[in-house]
């Protein structure tokens, strides 16, 4: 208000005495601001403070004011009123708290009730204050300060001490009526500024890194935890270390060890220089190791580029873990006979599809999924043998042929079943293996590698020579199981049947006459081609009577190694002699013509029976071995 008035006044004032008036006004304003907000004029008695040290009693102190202005000694009265009182009451005790004070003992004190006190003499009220006791708590200072030595540093320069004290005796901390917080301050004797520690609730606190040879002063103040103001300071504790320091030798602080740094730094630098100068290359190698170019161990990528596939194959074959992938373009040429009814099939299918596809493939595609290389159709569930001619390609693409073989075999089986109905002859060796072969081919999900190894170890999706009953009957074996394809381009067939179509179809099932060795490794998921060949070797001499499939011929039987093994093991003894009387038939027959869609006319060239050596080799046939066999 006054400021506004003065400003307005300033603005209206003529320019004459501007500066002085401005200064005067400013002085007034400043003086105004510094006046206490309580409207008591200067020199009048006023209540300085009301304080409770422990929240059980409280006292109020006032000043007399400027006595000189008043002639008669005044009889000051402090009147108080609690909420709920009707009238002002006089102070009960003017004495205990000292002069110009009023003391309220426990009986007069109620904690959370508002009080109003007023300072007055008979006529005039000088000052009035309202408060409640919980707001005016200022604890007494702590007592009994002392300290104990914690430890001295190794250098003997720094000292840690533990300072202890006791809470003020008036405050009832034990019963929890008052909860106190303490703040410790310390300084060196000749300093002026006190250092403060964080307030703590405990009655002890450590002081770290005091210097030997100096003297310190410590004091503590306390407050109620929830208030802001601290009470009085305690007595100052005097801590002296100067007397002990005379015997200490190291008076000075440790200098930064420049000398050591210089020496060691120089040594290190020299070493590094030596390294750099005399072994540049090695250092370079250490710092920037060359990134090795990716390459197959043992194979020169140039070979692949140049197309020297035989060498590549030989290299690859030398690795046991490799199937000799025959990337011979020539081979493919022979196989591809593009005479497919469905033009779509041609464009999408793989080569093997083209080779072996027939009209059924399309119609029996699994859920209409066409065969493409996406692998989407790979997990088609075989529903029924007829319908499930899914043109799926599994992970390694052998299922196509599986499918083709399967369907053909299924059909054959069905055909055979008609014939077999009356013939209950059941040979364990044939049927399980046979059926498993079929079921194995049904199962295009599981064991493609297994199927692979069963049917043929050749890397090229083996061509199934199982022809449908529609295939033309030609001069030689209508169905022959392809067991391998040589790098030269010839198809390795297992001995096939020489009978007519119908019987040949059935006989196809007899082909898997198991002549299994008992040296199957039971836990090996991959069966040696040779071993399995024996299991399912065509027994030409065997009758083509239909074999009753004793085992449940349903699509759900999956070809398991165990089953094969068991079946393999079972007939091992039975068919020993059977296999021995087997007529030697050519294992390798080159393909003469590829009849579409499932026909493969084979050359009648007889090839030497492979050696035992060939048979023995488990796993994959190396090209060396093949080369030995082949001319």
């Amino acid at each position: 208000m006054i400021m506004k008035a003065s400003l307005a006044f300033l603005l209206q004032e003529p320019r004459g005495m501007d500066l002085w008036q401005l200064l005067f006004t400013l002085a007034l304003i400043c003086a105004n601001d510094s006046l206490p907000t309580s409207e008591v004029p200067l020199g009048e008695p006023q209540i300085i403070k009301c304080r409770s040290p422990e929240m059980e009693t409280f006292s109020c102190h006032w000043t007399d004011g400027d006595v000189h202005n008043h002639t008669a000694p005044r009889t000051m009265q402090l009147l108080y009123m609690k909420r709920g009182d009707e009238e002002w009451k006089e102070c009960p005790d003017y004495v205990t708290a000292g002069e110009n004070s009023c003391y309220f003992n426990t009986s007069y004190t109620s904690v959370w009730i508002p009080y109003c006190v007023k300072l007055a003499n008979e006529n005039k009220v000088f000052d009035e204050k309202c408060f409640s006791v919980d707001e005016i708590v200022l604890p007494d200072p702590p007592i009994n300060l002392n300290w104990t030595l914690l430890n001295i540093s190794l250098t003997g320069i720094h000292v840690d001490i533990q300072v202890r004290w006791e809470p003020p005796p008036t405050a009832d901390v034990r019963k929890g009526w008052v909860t106190l917080e303490y703040e410790l301050q310390y300084k060196e004797v000749n300093e002026t500024k006190w250092k403060e520690l964080e307030p703590v609730c405990s009655t002890t606190v450590p002081l770290y890194s005091l210097k030997m040879g100096r003297d310190y002063e410590i004091r503590i103040q306390s407050r109620q935890r929830t208030s802001e103001k601290f009470g009085e300071f305690s007595e100052t504790l005097f801590v002296s270390f100067s007397m002990a320091s005379e015997t200490v030798l190291c008076a000075e602080e440790i200098q930064f060890p420049w000398l050591f740094i210089v020496i060691f730094g120089t040594c290190g630098l020299v070493v590094v220089m030596f390294l750099i100068l005399f072994s540049k290359q090695r250092l370079k190698m250490l710092i920037l190791p060359p990134i090795p170019a990716p390459k197959i161990k043992g194979i020169d990528p140039d070979l692949l580029k140049k197309g020297k596939l035989e060498e590549v194959n030989s290299i690859l074959a030398s690795h046991d873990s490799y199937k000799p992938q025959l990337y011979n373009d020539d081979l493919w040429v022979e196989f591809i006979e593009l005479d497919i009814d469905d033009p779509d099939e041609k464009t999408e299918g793989s080569d093997t599809d083209r080779l072996l596809s027939d009209a059924h493939m399309k119609s029996h595609s699994c859920l209409g999924v066409k065969d493409d290389d996406s692998g989407r159709a790979s997990c088609c569930e075989p529903d029924m043998p007829e319908t499930d001619f899914s043109a799926s390609d599994t992970c390694d693409g052998t299922s196509d042929t599986d499918q083709s073989k399967k369907i053909s075999e299924k059909e054959e089986t069905l055909l055979c079943l008609d014939q077999k109905d009356n013939n209950k002859s059941f040979t364990n060796l044939d049927d399980p293996a046979n059926q498993q072969l079929i079921s194995q081919s049904e199962d295009n999900q599981s064991r493609p590698p297994f199927a692979d190894s069963i049917e043929s170890p050749s890397p090229v999706p083996p061509v199934r020579t199982q022809l449908s009953n529609q295939s033309s009957v030609t001069n030689i074996d209508f169905y022959a199981q392809v067991s391998d394809i040589t790098p030269a381009g010839s198809v390795v067939l297992s001995p096939g049947q020489k009978n007519k179509t119908g019987r040949a179809q059935c006989e196809a099932h007899t082909e898997p006459a198991a002549q299994c060795q008992s040296n199957f490794t039971m836990d090996n998921a991959y069966f040696c081609e040779a071993d399995v060949k024996k299991c399912i070797a065509v027994t030409s001499h065997e009758e083509v009577e239909p074999h009753v499939q004793d085992q449940s011929f349903n699509e759900d039987t999956y070809f398991t190694t165990e089953s094969l093994t068991t079946t393999a093991v079972n007939p091992s003894t039975a068919t020993e002699e059977a296999s021995s009387s087997e007529m030697p038939v050519p294992d390798y027959t080159s393909i003469h013509i590829v009849h579409s869609p499932q026909g493969l006319v084979l050359n009648a060239t007889a090839l030497p029976v492979p050696d035992k050596e060939f048979m023995v080799s488990c796993g994959y046939v190396s090209t060396d071995q093949l080369n030995k066999i082949m001319p």
């Binding site: 929240m55 909420r83 004190t109 508002p114 009526w177």
Partner: protein, 236 residues
């Protein structure tokens, strides 16, 4: 004679046996009784792992925090809105919790039974549920209310609920099975917080915050007192 002695011996042995069994059974019953007299986990309690001391520690921490926030909020409000309006000199109106007779000094607090004091604390806490809720909403309508005040109001309201839960747990432990009548004071000060006249409205806020600070201090003190009495055996 020897026959009699043996029979007597037998009888003595059987007597001993009976006595032993009796002792065992009585011991069983006695220990069982002593266990039941100090229930650590009364039936129906979900969380049985926290000790009473820990519960009290948490409660004291919460009450301390609430009082701290209330003090600060009151001081802020006082600084910002109450200066020059003479709120201080006016006799502060009574708080709505005045109907709950709480101990006003140390002697009274010491004489009151701890179960009664706990129930009083619960009553005060419950009485503040409603006002705090409205405080949070109404304080936002104050012209240019600083964020700190708004945040503190919300925080106090939430912590109060938590403290209430904790106290109910403690009461459940200390006096199991005693649901007690839920005594609390109803608050009817909402209209005053919504007055059109700004001065009157701000005075209503001032009053409410003053009461809040006071009551939170009361609760804090009572809980500390109870903690020292029950957990530390009056030797904090």
């Amino acid at each position: 004679m020897p026959h009699m002695i043996t029979t007597m011996n037998n009888k003595g042995a059987s007597l001993k046996g009976v006595l032993l069994v009796f002792l065992l059974i009585s011991n069983m019953f006695l220990t069982k009784k002593s266990v039941t007299s100090l229930p650590i986990c009364p039936s129906g309690s979900v969380n049985c792992q926290v000790s009473l001391g820990e519960l009290f520690d948490r409660a004291v921490k919460l009450s301390h925090y609430i009082h701290f926030l209330s003090s600060e909020m009151f001081n802020e409000f006082d600084e910002r809105y109450a200066q020059g309006r003479g709120f201080i000199t006016k006799a502060v109106n009574g708080c709505h919790t005045a109907s709950l007779t709480t101990p006003e000094d140390k002697e009274q607090a010491q004489q009151i039974h701890h179960e009664d004091l706990l129930n009083l604390v619960l009553g005060v806490l419950r009485s503040w549920n409603d006002p705090l809720l409205h405080l949070v909403t109404e304080v936002q309508r104050i012209k240019e209310a600083p964020n700190t005040i708004l945040w503190k109001a919300a925080e106090i309201e939430e912590q109060n609920k938590r403290l209430l839960e904790g106290m109910e747990k403690i009461v459940g432990r200390v006096q199991p099975g005693d649901t007690g009548n839920e005594v609390y004071s109803r608050w009817s000060g909402l209209p005053s917080l919504q007055l059109a006249d700004e001065d009157s409205r701000l005075f209503a806020f001032y009053n409410l915050l003053h009461c809040l600070r006071r009551d939170s201090h009361k609760i804090d003190n009572y809980l500390k007192l109870l903690k020292c009495r029950l957990i530390h055996d009056s030797n904090c």
